[in-house]
Symmetry: C2
Subunit: 300 residues, 2 copies
């Protein structure tokens, strides 16, 4: 009988931003994402993951969102009778202190994806990657044009702008072209650190999701301390997006959205003129239709 019996596994992409660097919680010295089986006693998938992370790492998880579920025939198990279903989650945590029982490791996103950080200009690795992709483009003459357009679009070449949201598409394109490898294949140097099985792909999914989400939902605040300066907030967004932002316009955007309010205090730890401290207005969660309509509505 072929009825769908499967192992269920939960995998977490837990991120924080410390010192203007976005980081992810890892196990096995940075080679894998934390994961564990979904057990019978768990109330729900989300609850299962929460408990599991708390037990393993001592970290409280604030925001938690499902990322993706997939089932591949053959991964670690050779057994064809039972398949593994992997359910991945994206979680945001405020700090990385307080390590629990088996203290987790934290690693910068851009160790795994060095081409994704454009804060100090276009990374050098990119020229290397694009060169490799050109080989792939040329490899199949029939699809040449199509592949070229795909590369140009995904990596922001030929007049197209770099789109930070396309992290996953870029990774998948590189994977298709044989420029990056998953688990166990021969390594490519300088194109980012590898991870166990498809964990690097899952991390790419998480990064892409978070980069898209910060634009229309106030999730950045899950990563901020209780009070913060406007520049700290900007640096955090920049770290996630891998881009530098226009300071005056960023501030205008923030305050016209009325997401934050002054605490009344200031800090002079920043060097020059003391900066006002702000806090997130939790009230917005239930107050406003965040992300307006974008459809041209009619009266009546």
């Amino acid at each position: 009988m072929t009825t769908g019996l499967a192992h269920a596994e939960l995998i977490a992409v837990l991120s924080a931003v410390t010192g203007d660097e976005p980081r992810v919680m890892t196990v096995r010295s940075g080679n894998a994402l934390p994961s564990g089986p979904f057990e019978l006693e768990h109330r729900s998938l989300q609850a299962g993951l929460r408990e599991w992370v708390r037990d393993q790492t001592g970290h409280p998880v604030g925001y938690l969102e499902q990322l993706y579920t997939f089932a591949d025939r053959d991964r670690t198990r050779e057994n064809a009778e039972v398949r593994t279903i992997s359910i991945s989650y994206l979680g945001l945590v405020r700090e990385q202190a307080a390590p629990g029982a088996r203290s987790p490791g934290w690693h910068g996103w851009y160790e795994y994806f060095p081409w994704e950080d454009h804060r100090r200009g276009r990374p050098d690795v990119l020229s290397c990657i694009v060169e490799g992709l050109q080989g792939w483009v040329a490899a199949e003459p029939a699809r040449r044009e199509h592949r070229q357009r795909r590369v140009d679009f995904t990596f922001g070449l030929e007049g197209a702008a770099w789109n930070e949201d396309l992290t996953l598409q870029r990774y998948e394109l590189m994977y298709e072209a044989g420029l990056v490898t998953e688990a166990g294949s021969p390594a490519h140097d300088g194109q980012g650190r590898e991870m166990f099985a498809d964990h690097r792909r899952i991390l790419a999914t998480g990064i892409a999701r978070l980069r898209a989400k910060i634009k229309y939902r106030p999730v950045v605040f899950e990563l901020m301390p209780e009070s913060f300066t406007l520049l700290q907030l900007q640096r955090t967004v920049e770290a996630l997006a891998g881009l530098t932002l226009h300071k005056p316009n960023f501030r205008r955007l923030i305050d016209q959205q009325e997401l934050i309010e002054e605490t009344g205090e200031t800090t002079s730890e920043t060097g020059g003129r003391p900066a006002k401290l702000f806090r997130y207005r939790y009230a917005v969660l239930e107050e406003r239709a965040l992300a307006g309509s974008k459809l041209p509505l009619s009266r009546n």
Copy 2:
């Protein structure tokens, strides 16, 4: 041993728009969404669902996107040894003709969610629902204020605008307040048709996802015939959003996005002056960074 053995089940929300009415494919005379077990011979979850739908209904599925995965302890199975993991997908199909072996049924979204269709003004059911919700708000004095804000925001009361994207939140709020029921509980009249198990909740998830998505990704075209008029396109978007749109501005929006091009032909089936026919420019898929940055970028 408590290791995570589970049944995997695939559930599909397949939607089409016919005659300006958004519809969903159902089985059991509209009481359930099509679903089936994930089998060992399937290459992947998505492939499994595709095959399965084709076999069962003879329908080709174009666009297909994962919706949500959940695991509940006790649904149909009383057995505590094995749990069911349900993986739901949203699919868009172009037509509803050509029924396959066991021809599927099609039912309008708004049979299940009559309060979600605002094209002909605020539906009457809404006053009924809001009244019911007021009872729930008053029921627990300690949380009164919080609940009231949540109701006002979710249903667009007290100056807040109706937000068509909140379909799922509205359903969940009504569920929490005991106004709608899932499988087998006593029925509430006039508050929409019920469905088997949690299928109605899954449908709400699909509707919400699609309503959000049409705003920043050109997925509507998956529901359109090869060539169409601008008004047909507008009516389709309106059907999905459950809202009426401003015609001149809708057209401006469409053509400044350069998503479509004229076929050169016209149709006079519409009554008055013949309308130009358009077709979707598939090139856009690989051409442009759809959905611009929204972050205030800086030079350099």
